[in-house]
């Protein structure tokens, strides 16, 4: 049996072809049309695997674009999908921190991969991928470059988490001659503190970091430092939601899932 999970996020669309294990996966930018992005990323994995759509038994869609996907069998939120995906990869209860393009989520999962509690940012972009993207642009950088800056710098204090105010703050810090890497370290710490406040004073034992934000090593270090725990990043942190969707599709068609 073959099933597919598709996660259309605000920034990128991800798909996983699953046959009891991850067979192939793909990641594409979402662009302006979530429906087309979903269709294209599906076409890409089918193409990679040399399969046709008819050979796929079940497709579960997730992510903010799930409502736009007219070719899926079921839509499930990314919160439930992340929980299933990470539980499949780790086999453990724990806390997931997911930093995507528009949203930051903290999800608490039990040993069966069920969501026990979750928190998601309000419509404000503070602490999201979008926040870092705007700051990167203000510094003339690409958001992907933020994570590769040197580790041992003194983070400058960023006082505002409001994207608009923080942008002016970054610009004035640059004008004042503060080094870029210190500003970036400061931004990472600010995002990490924001995430910490979403944990509502509970100290998680294990933290898995997912979403596009998890590809930023500097941000991972800042989270580990602020939370005082080890922060693990899956091999491919962007596809864990699509993986969870695939697992739900798999189980929906009667498949049993062994942990990875």
């Amino acid at each position: 049996m073959l099933v597919v999970g598709i996660d259309v996020g605000s920034t990128s669309a991800k798909a996983v072809l699953f046959d009891g294990r991850i067979k192939v996966y793909a990641i594409q930018p979402t662009g302006w049309s979530p429906r087309e992005a979903g269709a294209e990323v599906l076409a890409e994995i089918l193409d990679k695997a040399g399969l046709s759509r008819r050979e796929v038994a079940n497709i579960v869609g997730t992510g903010y674009g799930r409502v736009a996907l007219n070719f899926i069998d079921q839509a499930v939120t990314e919160i439930t999908c992340q929980a299933r995906g990470i539980n499949y990869l780790t086999g453990k209860a724990g806390t997931i921190i997911d930093i995507g393009g528009q949203d930051t989520k903290v999800i608490t999962v039990n040993e069966q991969g069920k969501v026990v509690d979750f928190v998601m940012n309000d419509k404000c972009a503070a602490g999201t991928g979008r926040f870092l993207e705007v700051m990167a642009t203000a510094m003339g950088m690409d958001v992907d470059e933020l994570g590769s800056l040197p580790e041992n710098v003194n983070p400058v204090n960023i006082s505002s988490m409001c994207t608009v105010f923080a942008e002016s703050e970054v610009i004035s810090l640059l004008a004042g001659g503060v080094a870029r890497e210190e500003i970036v370290a400061g931004l990472h710490r600010a995002v990490a503190r924001r995430v910490k406040s979403m944990l509502k004073n509970t100290a998680p034992a294990t933290v898995v970091f997912t979403g596009g934000g998890a590809k930023n090593e500097g941000l991972r270090r800042a989270l580990a430092a602020e939370l005082g725990v080890e922060v693990m990043v899956p091999a491919e942190p962007q596809i864990t939601g699509a993986l969870g969707a695939a697992i739900i599709a798999w189980e929906g068609n009667g498949g049993a899932v062994a942990h990875n």
Partner: protein, 425 residues
Amino acid sequence: MSDTYREMWRELNMDLEKHDVFLGTLPVAFGEVFLRQENRPAGMAYFDNALAEAHGGRIQEILAGKKAGRMVAGTFCVFAPEELIFAVDGISIGLCGGAQFTVPTGEQVLPRNLCPLIKSAMGFKLDRICPYFQAVDFLIGETTCDGKKKTWEILNEYVPTYVMELPQKKGTADLTLWEGEIHRLKEEIEHRSGREITADRLASGIKMANARRDALARLYRARWADPVPISGKDALLISQLAFFDDPERFTAQVNSLCDELEDRIARGEGVARKGAPRILVTGTPMALPYWKLHHLVETSGAVIVGEETCTGTRYFAGRVAEDGRTVEEQVKDLARRLTAINCACFTPNKERVEDILRLVRDARADGVIYFSLQFCQPFGVEGRLVERALQEAGVPVLRLESDYSEEDVAQLKTRIEAFLEMIAS
């Protein structure tokens, strides 16, 4: 819209062009949110029409009353003792605002980081698109929160606004203060209406308000059934209209709807499948035409089976004793209602948690959504205590904060759906 109405709005000094734009958005929203529901009770027709005529027929009626010498008072809170208004055969209108449309205008005179309910209400007055605001003789504000308290001072520049001091605790001294405030309002109403409030007149005012409370309580009890005989959206609409409609007619209509709902319950008929996830909403009021949360929840496969809000159970809480023989006794009874309404403006407010837990049990709710309007300090802060108490009782709870705009709908939907998935698993 008929020319008669336009003429009436012109006489009320309304901004006709802006009003057209505002009204133009409503039929679309109403059709989308309400008329697409399946198997709606036939008794909803009255309320659909009441909403359709909210700026038309109902205003005509109020203006006719006004011409005949009836006083028209606007209120903003479930604590306003409407019984005093009824006692002089006055017309009482609840004026809280629930539309994003008027928020930007409200922000011209109020800080942006103030709750949308206050900004919207202020905007309705400044924009001159609310015929109720234009028709009232005066407003009765109260000191439930700092935002409202200070807003009355500004609103008073546009329409006479009388302020009652609502205590923040429920001790003996607080009850005495509130009793004094009700006496003071009684004098104000007597002065404004030119009618004396006698024990007989007040007794009938109390009966009228109680009858409406009883009818709403009955409606809310019907929602405990599974399958639920009426949607949360429809029940919310009825609660919202309670603030505008003629109380006696409204009560009769709610009761006849309840007859229908009770028949449905006996037949096991509902608007959602038996076993559909059941949600209790608690938090800040949802003033007309705010239906966003209910619409999101009920288009995600769940039903809302109760609201512990001012446009819900808090509105009809605190039935007033009907056996007071003197005005003194009756005012004491009216003041005692204070202790039965567990608003976050009180400290401490532990009874609210008890109310919520009882409602969860009675309405067989699977989870609670704690909804707070942005920048509402009392309900925002109290959320932590309620959330913890619910978690300790093993009741799943989702906290949401929002305003009247549509920009966060996708995010809210994700959270609501994830919450429902969490409950179902």
